[in-house]
Symmetry: C2
Subunit: 298 residues, 2 copies
């Protein structure tokens, strides 16, 4: 068991209606790794600059995340500036500074090559393809975003053909397929070549579609969401982390995995940046899963 | 067991992206009655004009809906003209012709007075209060809409204080409480005096809140929705119909009732007006409930 993740490790400047959080740890691979490491062995591939704070690297180590593939180079770390409105959904991107990401050439270290699962977190589909050429993983999952759907649709469709699981949000699913109905969108994504698709609906749960059917997972309803940044990557981390741990990919395992993804995302959003994930224990996760089951089963 | 419902029996002119449906049977009490009658005895209080087609009255009879309280008077039936966009959500009201509804003075027939449950479907809160003064029902539930929240807020708050269950949609819940978070909105409604509240979220399921907690119910995901008119009233009919039949109001019964409400609404929206409900059998309902459980349990 074990997951290799390739994505961004970033510095975020985030503004939500509840406050400003500058120079915060962020990035798709950061959230994914911290979440998945609660379930399974995680091996990280990403690039950071000399400006990336040591304490966050220490946190990766503390969480037993393998950082052999975390390249630290001269230059600046990728930086994202975003702003959320009162709906706490779909943030406005104020600025994206690619910095070292611009010349990133991801290489999977030799010691990562036996891991069963690969997650291509949100990053340029051309980089995702480069990584796909280096892997022998049995289960390959990926995420993407509106930016790539608009600008690199054809490369993204190439990635899709090679995926076991695509994990995207509802806006991306609609944009990618030009279908407003999410079930139709899910089926269309399957027709593009991905074997399975998880469509994340934020505070409205998630939808899973495969060739053989579909099912839904409710959201963990919360009164106080402070910062939704990273919720989707954290969801993916819980989802794939559980699958990696359980070594099963049948419907029943996937249902449970969706629930774990949901629960992990709920921890992420109730605090700024990675604070909700940093001190998370297995006991807390199990306790919330129990509550979640209680509030959405019948 | 048995439910008295007071609301509108109407003629609707509805336009959806999939077609135009003119002179169609509609109204809150119509959808509610047809749905609830699949579970329990329903007794209808409403007013219609001479223009209301006989065949729809025949349908009420065929469904064993008691129409002693359905007053037919000289004049025209209440008429609603609405238009749905591609989101098939929140229709635009093109016109509302109150007609006989303007002078409606609802009277609960003597033979209705022993029923255990009363549902005040969406209608002027002043009329809802008049009905409340005539009832000895043990369980009182109600719905309302944006029009009354704006124009008769104080009367509506008087109604709320006397309710066991308020059943409204997410837009109404936010408007009524001025809270964007639905869980907070639900708790605020409880603080207004309603003992329990069901917040309907359309294709995103439903949320139940009471003093002792909350839980959620997923939606029955569909590829093809033709006409969402009456979905909310149909949901309420399935929800209360099941509770009336089961004679239980504990959490477990309410969870099952939410599922039945969801399933009933799914039948309503897959066809125009009441067509999806008219020929519905118990076997079809049970079959869909089974599918629903399968797609949203974990």
């Amino acid at each position: 068991m074990g997951i290799v993740v390739i994505g961004t490790v970033a510095i975020d400047d985030v503004v939500t209606p509840f406050g400003e959080n500058l120079d915060a740890p962020g990035g798709s691979a950061t959230y994914f790794s911290l979440s998945a490491s609660c379930f399974t062995r995680v091996k990280l591939v990403a690039v950071i600059g000399r400006d990336f704070p040591k304490k966050h690297i220490q946190l990766f180590k503390k969480k037993n995340i393998d950082i052999e593939g975390l390249e630290q180079k001269e230059g600046k770390t990728f930086r994202w500036e975003g702003k959320y409105g009162w709906d706490l959904d779909n943030p406005q991107t104020i600025a994206t500074h690619l910095n070292l990401l611009q010349s990133f050439n991801p290489v999977i270290p030799q010691s990562y090559k036996n891991e069963e699962m690969l997650f291509l977190a949100n990053i340029d589909p051309e980089l995702q393809l480069k990584v796909l050429d280096q892997t022998q993983a049995k289960i390959i999952a990926a995420d993407t975003m509106n930016f790539w759907i608009e600008r690199k649709r054809n490369k993204l469709l190439e990635v899709l053909k090679r995926l076991d699981i695509l994990i995207i949000n509802e806006y991306e699913a609609r944009q990618l397929t030009r279908e407003s109905n999410l079930l139709k969108a899910g089926k269309k994504i399957i027709s593009y070549g991905a074997k399975k698709v998880v469509i994340k609906k934020g505070e409205n749960g998630a939808l899973f579609v495969s060739k053989s059917g579909f099912f839904t997972c409710a959201a963990y309803l919360m009164e106080d969401v402070l910062d939704p940044t990273g919720a989707g990557d954290t969801f993916a981390g819980g989802f794939l982390g559980y699958l990696s741990k359980s070594k099963r990919y049948d419907d029943s395992a996937i249902r449970t995995a969706l629930a774990y993804g949901t629960v992990m995302a709920s921890f992420a959003v109730e605090n700024f940046d990675i604070k909700g994930l940093a001190g998370l224990t297995s006991v807390k996760i199990q306790k919330r899963l129990k509550v979640f089951k209680r509030i959405c089963s019948f």
